[in-house]
């Protein structure tokens, strides 16, 4: 693409290459936040190693005035602060782009390209001269490059200085040193380079009703607002910050004002097996309980998930997916758990899954997950991923309806029980597949035995085939019945499209951008985003009404495509895949190219 011919104001990508553990994360976050405060659509993606200190790490900032903020690998400005990765970083810059580097030491000749501009700032030298102590010099070097980038892209220094005041309000000496550092970089750039670059920023007003938020924080907020009281977990990237955030929120919002005691209980379990066990114990007792985890944790939880399915115990599980199999690449994103979630545990099972696309949906879906879990008395999985969970997203401000009343499903009170002739836990009295439950401690009449072994509709142990089948068939009906109660699929139709582009979860942004890109090339595509499993009937209708459906997802095996094949009437020959599973957030270029390739293959085959 010839990028230079277009107006590049508020349409650019910056990549910052640093070393983890050096404080660059907060500097990068500040850059992204400053752009957000200028009212410009922006996203920030952290690409980090599974390590605490000393390995390469990157931060990608994409600015796009049209609101396309999915990851883009077309880097206009590379802030190359890690000599160990210079080679790779400089190679990645777009033709016509620029490289900002620390010119305290010269660049190797081998790193020189004719088609990029080199912007050397002697950051280390300046920081040695102006600051004392090794740690401060390292930290201030980060702030100094932010200053240089601000000059190159025209980021308002006032915006950044206001952030220092907010952040270090009580420590004026920190405000002063950060101010000094930002100036060093800014002034040097203004003096030595032709500022601003063609790829530059201009204030807009796109973020008035937006906030900056990670999906994990949003999910934790959802748990608080849904009234969850018990959280059990075992630490795992990228799910850890769900519970960290939940704890932080509860410490503020969930204390008994008189006694200072907690209206919640968070247990760091000994492993994921125990974590899900605790959630089931709490759910059985009648509390809203959840556990955040990632694929490895889901694998461990399998036996319990089957118990929860069969004994019909509500639970909410957040699976913040990362690359598998096994330990995989723990700090890289993927959508590789669809299979394992859909049919987790041995025997015939099928689980309710919902797929948020962004932090906003992590919040609303989290609340819905608790309602669904109690209504259908079954585990509900909120399947997000590392990109949604851990990266800062600009999203619409969250709304809360104060009239919300939790859907506790069919839970019998002492009065309800007293009115009944007899209570039978697994007897479906109104034919919707859901049997009423009783909670421990409420009334002797509600007592029953919860078990994962064979039981009949009266809750009695059985080894009788018919009585066993009676119950498992009802449970199957119950789960099917959940399909239309899940968040409805997102569908966008255009005129005269015979091809459907289908996706799920965090691929949304890249796929919608690709739809736009391809429309410009004359390729009309209808768009469907699957939001729940079992699939709503609208999903099947969409698939059946298109000649071909191309499913875009982030795993090697086309797991969502295969689920669609299994669970809808669509023919295998009408499904194709575009897959991206290297661990990076999806970009529109990958999707668009994938679609072009699939279409040309089909034309060849048809011809």
């Amino acid at each position: 693409m010839d990028r230079d011919s277009r107006d590049r104001t508020n349409d650019l990508v910056v990549k910052v290459a640093t070393v983890n553990g050096t404080g660059s994360a907060s500097a990068n976050g500040m850059l992204m936040q400053a752009i957000f405060r200028m009212g410009v659509p922006v996203s920030g993606k952290n690409v980090f190693p599974s390590n605490i200190q000393g390995l390469p790490t990157w931060y990608e900032i994409r600015v796009n005035k049209n609101g396309h903020t999915a990851r883009s690998p077309n880097f206009d400005l590379m802030v190359a602060m890690n000599p160990k990765t210079y080679g790779q970083d400089i190679k990645e810059v777009c033709s016509g782009g620029a490289v900002l580097y620390d010119s305290s030491w010269p660049l190797d000749d081998a790193l020189m390209r004719d088609d990029v501009t080199y912007l050397g700032v002697p950051l280390s030298h300046m920081c040695v001269e102006n600051f004392k102590g090794a740690r401060e010099r390292i930290l201030m070097k980060n702030i100094a490059y932010v200053g240089a980038v601000a000059a190159l892209l025209t980021i308002d220094l006032d915006v950044i200085q206001a952030m220092f005041t907010e952040k270090f309000g009580s420590k004026p000496h920190l405000i002063d040193s950060n101010d000094a550092a930002i100036r060093l970089g800014y002034d040097y750039a203004i003096e030595h380079f032709d500022c601003p670059l063609p790829t530059r920023l201009e204030p807009m007003d796109a973020n008035r009703d937006s906030v900056l938020m990670t999906g994990n924080m949003a999910a934790a907020l959802g748990c608080v607002y849904a009234g969850a009281t018990v959280g059990a977990w075992y630490p795992i990237t990228p799910a850890t910050s769900v519970m960290d955030s939940f704890r932080g929120l509860c410490e503020k919002l969930r204390k008994d004002p008189e006694t200072g005691k907690n209206r919640y209980c968070i247990i760091q379990a000994e492993d994921e097996l125990a974590a899900i066990g605790m959630v089931l114990g709490a759910g059985w007792m009648g509390a809203r309980a959840f556990t955040p985890t990632s694929g490895a944790g889901i694998s461990l939880m399998n036996e319990f998930l089957g118990l929860a399915y069969y004994a019909e115990i509500p639970a909410v599980i957040f699976d913040v997916q990362r690359t598998g199999p096994s330990t995989g690449m723990p700090t890289r994103t993927q959508q590789g758990d669809f299979f394992t979630l859909a049919f987790a545990s041995h025997g015939d099972t099928k689980h309710v899954l919902i797929f948020p696309a962004d932090p906003g949906e992590c919040f609303t879906f989290a609340v819905q997950a608790f309602d669904l879990a109690e209504r259908f008395q079954t585990p509900v999985f909120v399947a997000s991923d590392l990109d949604i969970g851990m990266n800062d997203w600009v999203c619409d401000k969250l709304e809360w309806d104060d009239a919300y009343v939790p859907d506790r499903g069919k839970v019998l009170s002492a009065e309800d029980l007293q009115k009944m002739d007899a209570f039978y836990r697994y007897l479906d009295s109104d034919g919707d597949g859901v049997a009423a439950r009783s909670l421990p401690g409420v009334d002797p009449k509600g007592a029953y035995f919860t078990r994962g072994s064979g039981h009949d509709r009266y809750g009695r142990y059985t080894e009788d085939g018919e009585l066993y089948q009676d119950v498992v068939d009802r449970v199957a009906r119950k789960i099917e019945g959940a399909a239309e109660a899940l968040p409805p699929p997102e569908i966008r139709l255009v005129d005269n499209a015979s091809i459907g582009l289908v996706t799920v979860g965090g691929c949304r942004g890249a796929v919608l951008e690709a739809v736009d890109l391809l429309a410009e090339e004359g390729i009309a595509l209808d768009y469907l985003r699957v939001t729940g499993f079992p699939f709503a009937s609208a999903v099947e209708e969409f698939l059946l009404s298109h000649d071909v459906n191309i499913v875009v997802e982030q795993n090697r095996d086309g797991q969502m495509k295969r689920l669609l094949m299994l669970e809808t009437a669509v023919l295998k020959s009408k499904l194709a895949s575009v897959l991206d599973y290297g661990g990076s957030p999806l970009s529109a270029t990958v999707v668009a190219q994938g679609v072009r390739d699939r279409l040309s293959m089909m034309t060849v085959q048809a011809g």
């Binding site: 405060r37 973020n207 937006s210 906030v211 900056l212 938020m213 608080v224 607002y225 849904a226 009234g227 969850a228 009281t229 018990v230 059990a232 919002l253 008994d256 006694t259 200072g260 005691k261 907690n262 209206r263 209980c265 247990i267 000994e270 492993d271 125990a274 974590a275 899900i276 066990g277 605790m278 959630v279 114990g281 709490a282 059985w284 007792m285 009648g286 509390a287 309980a289 036996e303 319990f304 118990l307 401000k397 969250l398 809360w400 309806d401 104060d402 919300y404 009343v405 939790p406 421990p440 401690g441 009334d443 002797p444 509600g446 007592a447 029953y448 035995f449 919860t450 078990r451 072994s453």
Partner: protein
């Protein structure tokens, strides 16, 4: 098949407890274990204990793992919610249930396979969290339900039914629990109801994790000659450390007058458990001494039974977590959901 042992007198005039319930009201369905199984005697003692403590059955949650022993919650307290969970995973279910609602009484039933092999981790961590529950480990040295394989508590030299002798050192739940910092450790024998009953009552009343390790012979797979968990062996080698006499709150004064030499320990609810040392110098509140004593007896092939250790002042899960006194399940929604104004306020800082 046996019936759970029924009380000796069974007529309509069965003496009710303070709640007006008779012992029958604390029973469950008929046992399906082998005739003579030690587990059934334990069930009988459990029924008696709840009855004598005047506990409302529906305010009890009974949980178990998987195994012959774990089947037994069906055989007592039919008016209580029961949860027959997964092999070795009862402690996590109990922990979550207790976290949600600390106002119920919890009894967990497990076996030696359930607790010391597949569930060793969960067993240990429930002790570490001091989950407020009575934990009955019905210990027969074998996997009963899977037909007699050695469990991790089988003693060195103990012979399996087919003749082969175990060579690996056993995991002893009582000394393990002591080492892990358990706040209540007792051991008894299924055939000694006189000793078992007050231990169960004390364990139910203790706030925190109360382990009662009960040697419970498996008549089908581990009651032959050469087994160290048989009825005959346990009777000959059992060695009582502390005689426990559980004294509910209301009888305290009267009881105290009668028992001069006993050590009285006041439980969190004010009731008193009295321990009469068989050995004069035995102090059930001294963890190190308890551990040393257990090991000493073990080395001469004897099983220390009775109340081995108690710390009635330990913090339980809810105290560690500083949760409110009431059940989390019953909290009104407006105490849980902060509402739209708070959401707006939070978000004003995320810009």
């Amino acid at each position: 098949m046996t019936q759970t042992a029924k009380p000796s007198v069974q007529h309509p005039g069965l003496k009710p407890n303070k709640l007006g319930l008779t012992r029958r009201d604390y029973e469950g369905s008929q046992s399906t274990l082998c005739a003579g199984c030690g587990h059934d005697s334990i069930t009988a003692a459990i029924i008696q204990a709840f009855f004598e403590l005047d506990m409302p059955p529906h305010r009890v949650a009974k949980l178990s793992g998987i195994g012959c022993s774990s089947k037994t919650p069906t055989y007592f307290l039919s008016d209580a919610h029961g949860f027959n969970s997964l092999h070795g995973r009862m402690p996590s279910i109990a922990t979550g249930a207790n976290a949600a609602n600390g106002t119920l009484s919890y009894i967990g039933i497990s076996g030696d396979g359930d607790s010391l092999s597949i569930g060793f981790g969960q067993f240990s961590h429930a002790i570490r969290r001091n989950v407020n529950m009575l934990y009955m480990l019905e210990n027969n040295g074998v996997y009963g339900l899977t037909k007699g394989q050695f469990s991790a508590s089988a003693d060195v030299g103990s012979k399996a039914k087919r003749g082969e002798a175990n060579q690996m050192r056993p995991i002893d739940p009582a000394s393990t629990a002591l080492a892990l910092g358990a706040s209540f450790v007792a051991r008894s024998f299924s055939g000694d109801k006189k000793q078992l009953l007050p231990l169960i009552k004390a364990g139910l009343t203790h706030r925190g994790f109360a382990l009662v390790d009960v040697i419970s012979p498996c008549v089908t797979f581990n009651d032959h000659e050469g087994s160290t968990k048989s009825y005959a062996h346990t009777r000959d080698h059992g060695h009582k450390v502390v005689e426990t006499d559980f004294v509910p709150l209301l009888h305290e004064i009267q009881a105290e007058q009668n028992r001069e030499s006993a050590t009285a320990v006041t439980m969190h609810d004010g009731s008193v458990v009295r321990f009469k040392s068989v050995a004069e110098d035995y102090d059930p509140t001294d963890r190190d001494a308890a551990y040393a004593h257990l090991k000493k007896l073990q080395s001469c092939g004897e099983v220390a039974t009775g109340l081995l250790f108690i710390d009635p002042t330990s913090m339980d899960l809810h105290e560690f977590e500083n949760t409110v006194d009431e059940s989390l399940v019953g909290l009104p929604f407006d105490q849980l959901c902060p509402g739209s104004a708070v959401l707006d306020d939070l978000q004003s800082r995320w810009r």
